[in-house]
Amino acid sequence: MAQTTPLQVDLTDLNGGAFSADKVTFETATGPTVLTAAPFMFDLTAAGEASLTIEKKGRHTFRFELNIAATGKDFTVSINKKRMLDAPRMLTLLKLGTVGKGPGPGRNQLTVRMGRAREFLLVTGFDYPSGHGPGGMQFHLLATKRMHTLRAAKLIDDSTVITWFDAKSGLRTRWVMGRGAEATTAPPAMWKSGWSLLSRDGTAPTTLQPNDAGYPGPGVNGMPEI
């Protein structure tokens, strides 16, 4: 049985200096633990999914999805790639431990690097098939291309949020740069690595076919769901 294992969360600015937060919430299946001042130390007591939410007035709220695994005598934290797709570059996760020195657990150290509050907004439309044309333009590729450009040109930092409204899926997604090499995939996932998904909300469209009720009509690249 794995022992209670500490998770220490350090918040820094981009230069490694201390960064203060109003509230840091670590939530597991047993409930949330809320701390409002450093040190942000949490106990890992059970395996399963968890989340870490960092809030500060005037800043973006960041929620990171984590996994806790029982690994022998203690617990190990990792990024929940099923939910986040890739590990955010703004997080550095280490596990420090010992070999043979004693029966106690190791410790997980998570550093979160916060830059200035910045956000880029992307909106992609839906090219309906209609009398105006066959439709089918893949507007989402413009957005993934734009995200790549921002990244490659170093116009954004690790904590810059990309908020993307996609008309076709009706979803709002929020992204930060991931650690892996960029690899796109089919909508609505858009990315399979290179970008980390912070959140996904909105309502998927219910009317996508010209014969369906509520179809916006020919010649309209609308985004009524947004």
Partner: protein
Amino acid sequence: MPRSLRLMLTPLPSNTGGGRLLFDGARLSFALMGAGLSKASLGSATAGKLSLRMTFLDRARAPQDIEERALATMAGSIVFSGDSAAVFTSDANGWVVAPEADDQAPDGATSQRALRFELESPDFEAAVSSQDLVVRLDPVRFRFLELRTKLEIGGSTEADFDVNDVLDVAITASTPPPLGATIGVHPPLFDSIPPSAKLVVTPSEGDPITFPLSSGIDRGDGLLSFLVPSPKPGVLYTAEMTLSPADSPTLLFQDIELNQLVLQSNGASAAPLSSLGADALLFDSTPQAADAEEAVQGGPDGPTDQQLASFDAQAGTVAVA
């Protein structure tokens, strides 16, 4: 039905990155022997005891130099929960190292190594399911270690050392691992770490220690771990990782007293360590080819290269606050 119990040892690979398969521990479980009559009862717990004994050999076949010592014992109780299922519940002490493991070690046995022992569930119920036991050995004199187990139930020997499995451990410079602190790095989720990657740990006293990627250990916890041997009290360590020769090093942590981990592992409270101040481990971002299904998703027409270039040129003019 005649039945008795014996112990099985499933080897745990050391995963030290080399081509040779080495082991540095074992997972214990029970197996039934068809013959004999067990002292364990169905539904009624009986006192039980496990013993570990180690034999050091200078060579695997026809050894000329042999040394034997007890390693550890575990006390508890055992019960049959069904016709073929036995559950051993250890007492709160878990494995207790035998005094002779240290006392009878010869002068040359100065190398302290760790052997991992995991207790299979549901065969075992214990406060700690995985425990490292420290072994003192002479790596110059001996190249192999055989580990044997004994099971006693109700004060009688249920399965002696010659009946249960034997764990064969090759003794190398890195196996079983020397005592020390481990730095576990999360490998990227999708990319492989370049073979040229290295970790450099710089102590506040002494020379930097360079760990090539091949010295990373996969201990089955999803991490790539590097072992810093015997961190000393009061010495601060800084760790930097470089992924490829062209990259500048990435700071993983700075001025951490790794010996604090040793104290914590021995029961000290987990006080906050100084801030890691870490940089992210960065990987080059090169868009890869789109999935096959992406090309047909949403219609036949994607933006042309010219359209993308035009869009890119316009988008690049956006002012950044």
